[in-house]
Symmetry: C2
Subunit: 349 residues, 2 copies
């Protein structure tokens, strides 16, 4: 099978509300899922009953080039399949969550800054190596899809997912389906302007939600305050350079009563609440699910604080009854969403 | 027929893309439409072929109480019907665009600040007076619906309408249908925060789009500058109190080369562009239609200026190809949307 003949497959209707109550992760055979990150490749094999039966983890090694990364992705799937006692040839399909915008039909990732990729046909390349159908999705979109179909949002018709981490990704569920808009680019909630002419965003804009409440924005503000002479325990936790702080480091600093870090996080949470209120006013969803690194690390108290701020925002008719919860799949949201892609992949032609 | 028995009717699926290319305003008999404003009641009768055959106009006289307003609405319909040579009893239904949130099923307007109404069952009251089915919709929602089905947005699947006037209303078309969300409250684009902690909005929030680019916000900023000693021709056009300026007055001042008014309008247009970019990033629509008093008065040059600013906003993948146009129905958008409601009203029970 050549790369161009590799089966890159259409989604068979990403219906979120299962009319028969079946486990959307179940299938006739096993399926594989990959969560492709800038530093790690996570793979898992899902059993016919929908449960995760094995996992494998590899460093991404993006600096060695795209083909090496694809080799490592294939190797991770083979390793997980071996652990599960499953022949790769028996896998229904392989779903992959990738960190960037893409064309799901051709399997081409347009741009993935964390991997240094531009217009790379990772789908066909992986399908060729494994001899199995491959289906790509944006990493945050599939995580939101997973929360909707198998997590905190199960059964909702109108839902928004917001994933603050290195950036701020998101996804919109409208009438029970993940919503793509005209170019499948909808859900870029991180690039809403919340503070016109505010801090610079990685995309070149200003005052975007991502520039106000991503981990990157949080540690930048902490670094600015440190430069201004303010003290933080974070300097001890991370060593000298506070901009290297992980979300876990931030959580540690707060747990130790670090006032400055708490203030910065509270401010980020306030902006996140304004962003949620924006989406509530535009979309009037029943549920907002918060996930991603920052939310995973800071936990329920952060989510509850944000929810409280949202309810103080007008219009009260749309914010008063809005449920705001943390992702229930946590770190498995990405891999679960990728498995959903694999389950929906339908052999073309 | 008592008020409680009055036929308040469900919409028969507000499908925006007519599969057979038929005129969505056409029907078996004539239909009536009302655009209910704080100062004026506009009524029109639509012929079976979908054209407007007659119009009537009355002052609202909200200060005389809700029942008087309903009397005047009924009178406006009777007058338009008489002009058209149509018996009121032959009208298919009466559609009404009202300035406030409402329950379409019961015909109750929850709150209409411009009318002083709160929880008023205007639908049943009007249906009782006319003996015809009445269907209510929010005035801006129906105007956006009209643009989508019979105006600038015809044939689009994913569209956003933004209506800057006294406030800033809006509507969202998703997959070819006007989108309501869980409580039919979606589309409140005027209450997106664009400038956190910015100027106060009528709703109590801060830095909302409505507080930055409505006519109210524009004249408030002009008044602030006048107080600060700046000069404007608007003082001559409106008399002393520039806060009484209409959108038409603003257009006149710009036409006369008033630099200060131009600056304020440019700034409002910039914020409107940020709001449009927000919606583009979240919803990735193919088209944005701008309508309402401010846009009608300022015309194409304003719309084109806003569109140019939007295209400079990230993410460029979503803003580059986004079409941004003025309402093609203009002042008739409201009455046309109300007529669509009448055409979709289906006799219940």
């Amino acid at each position: 099978m050549t790369a161009t003949q590799a089966p890159i497959l259409p989604l068979d209707g990403v219906t979120a509300i299962s009319s028969n109550g079946e486990n959307p992760l179940a299938g006739r055979t096993h399926a594989a899922a990959i969560d492709l990150g800038g530093t790690k490749i996570l793979a898992a094999v899902f059993a016919p009953d929908g449960s995760i039966v094995s996992r494998a983890k590899k460093m991404t090694r993006a600096e060695r080039g795209a083909e090496v990364v694809v080799d490592r992705m294939a190797e991770a799937v083979r390793e997980a399949a071996a652990k599960a006692g499953v022949d790769v040839a028996e896998l229904q399909a392989v779903g992959v969550g990738v960190p960037g915008p893409l064309d799901a039909d051709t399997g081409v990732v347009f741009v993935a800054p964390n991997l240094g990729w531009r217009d790379f046909a990772v789908g066909p390349a992986l399908a060729e190596r494994l001899g199995r159908p491959v289906r790509l999705g944006n990493d945050v979109s599939v995580a939101v899809l997973a929360e909707h179909e198998a997590g905190a949002g199960r059964g909702t018709r109108h839902m928004v997912g917001i994933w603050p981490g290195t950036g701020v990704g998101g996804g919109i569920v409208v009438n029970g389906r993940l919503y793509g808009g005209v170019g499948d680019l909808a859900g870029e909630v991180g690039h809403m302007t919340i503070l016109a002419d505010g801090p610079k965003c990685g995309c070149g804009g200003r005052g975007h939600l991502e520039a106000l409440c991503s981990r990157t924005a949080i540690v930048r503000e902490i670094a600015r305050r440190v430069k201004g002479g303010e003290k933080t325990r974070l300097s001890k936790i991370t060593g000298k350079d506070v901009t290297q702080a992980t979300s876990g480091d931030l959580a540690k600093a707060i747990a130790k009563g670090d006032k400055m870090v708490s203030e910065v996080i509270d401010r980020a949470g306030y902006y996140l609440a304004l962003g949620i209120a924006n989406l509530a006013n535009v979309l009037n969803p029943e549920l907002v699910v918060l996930g991603g690194g920052v939310v995973e690390a800071l936990g329920e108290s952060f989510v509850n604080g944000v929810a409280e701020q949202v309810r103080m925002q007008p219009l009260h008719a749309v914010t008063a009854d809005l449920r705001i919860v943390a992702s229930s799949l946590g770190d498995d949201a990405g891999i679960t969403g990728a498995a959903l892609l694999a389950r929906r992949a339908v052999q073309a032609g």
